[in-house]
Amino acid sequence: MSIIAIERLSHAFTNGQTSLTEIDLAVPQGQFVVICGANGSGKTTLLRHLNGLILPQKGRVLIAGQPVQTNLNRARQMVGMVFQEPDNQIVGATVAEDVAFGPENLGLTHLEIKRRVTECLTAVGLADFRHLPPQTLSGGRRRRLAIAGVLAMKPQIIAFDEPFSNLDYPGVRQVLEQMRSLHHSGHTLIVATHDIEKVIAHAQRLIVLDRGRIACDGPPDTVMHAVERHHVRRPCAHRLGQPVSSWLN
């Protein structure tokens, strides 16, 4: 069974503009999926359907076999979402407090919350920063803190919305390393980006969205040649006819 199943999903904004049209998608557990597309192609809208921030107007979104809207809390626990701008996601006054926000919302015991905070901060390499205010961290560390906040809810799926925006090279590498580690630990990763260069070497599947429709879907090697038709730039190495290598190498 697919951990994510989207059936004939359509969405239009209140001004009548269509953002998603008849999306059908199935993602097996543990897959690393990159969703790319130009601005306004519907990437973020699609991600927001996964944990019920937007409920389907038409069609269905199923997480581990259950429609999202039947149990929003379950969907939000199962699908962690890392937003484009970490400052908009961080609510705690200190690093540790921010990581504790999700588990507190789940109503866990104090001891369990403490355990998860320590575990997640260690996992993202921020254990030494636990008492610092989040705004004092660098961009890459703030993004890792956002990931830790999501991990503390023990999700099976993690959705990243433009995870590399506003990051310098070390910041991109830190986030990428985190993604790789999450994938190795069995998480299903969905990465929405218009810049596939940085992440595509790690992905198992590439989906191209164009004006709210799935234009291409398949292994990166087979889909890559078509992405520029849909306003997404191919990785430099691919343009030069060379194999695409990881930014971590």
């Binding site: 927001r48 944990n51 921030l53 809390n73 939000r76 626990q77 962690g80 979402m81 937003f83 701008e85 400052d87 908009n88 996601q89 609510v91 705690g92 006054a93 200190t94 407090e97 504790a100 926000f101 999700g102 507190e104 919302n105 789940l106 109503g107 104090h110 919350i113 705004q135 906040g149 999501v150 809810m153």
Partner: protein, 245 residues
Amino acid sequence: MDIRIKLLATACMGYTLLTLSASLLAPALAGLIIIHSTAGAGMQRLMPALARFMPFLLFVFIARWLSTPGRPLCAALPPALTIEGLQIGMTAGLRLAALVLMSMLLTRTTLPSQFSAGIAWLGRPIPWLPEKKAAIMLGLALRLLPLILQQLKETAEAQRARGVGNRKNPIFRLTCLALPAMRQLFARADHLADAMLARGYTDARVWHVPPLKPRDFFNLFYIGLFCLLLCRLDAFLLSSGVGLS
């Protein structure tokens, strides 16, 4: 100290400060400054923070001085400047300064999450107060205030870079700052709300506050006793003619 006890003690001390006369306010102010320095904030850090409130304190002092009738301070000065007005103005100024110092001490030694937990706990018995919402709002306000100020600064800089300083109309300049800043703040608030929902926030959120220990009750008792003794001493000084009203 437990946050609930800390909030109750602050309320108790705040009330005491509001009732003290000028003769004890000055030592109280000095005491608060000493407590600040033991909490890691010496005069060097305290004065810039206190300076922000200075215009307000001066305004209160001058307003009370000018509006209190009594004996003229000096024949050469206008009759509105009275001896009683000066005393009352100084008392009001000192009182507010002490309250500001105490609030600063509270915020300096308390994490926003502790505030939220304390407010959620103390607000429970109040029937019309949505205590959990109030607690999360307070926590977010404290967390986001620096970001909002940063946002305003960036917008102001961007407007200055586009030459808004050349415009003479202050209302136009204010509009140029306020509109984009408000737009961005509302967008940020929307994003934050989405992020909180995505992390499972509901009104049923549980705030963890450790159970109160006997030591906490003793702390509250001692602080209450101290405030009571201060009030009695103040009353004694006033009745014996030593204190200033």
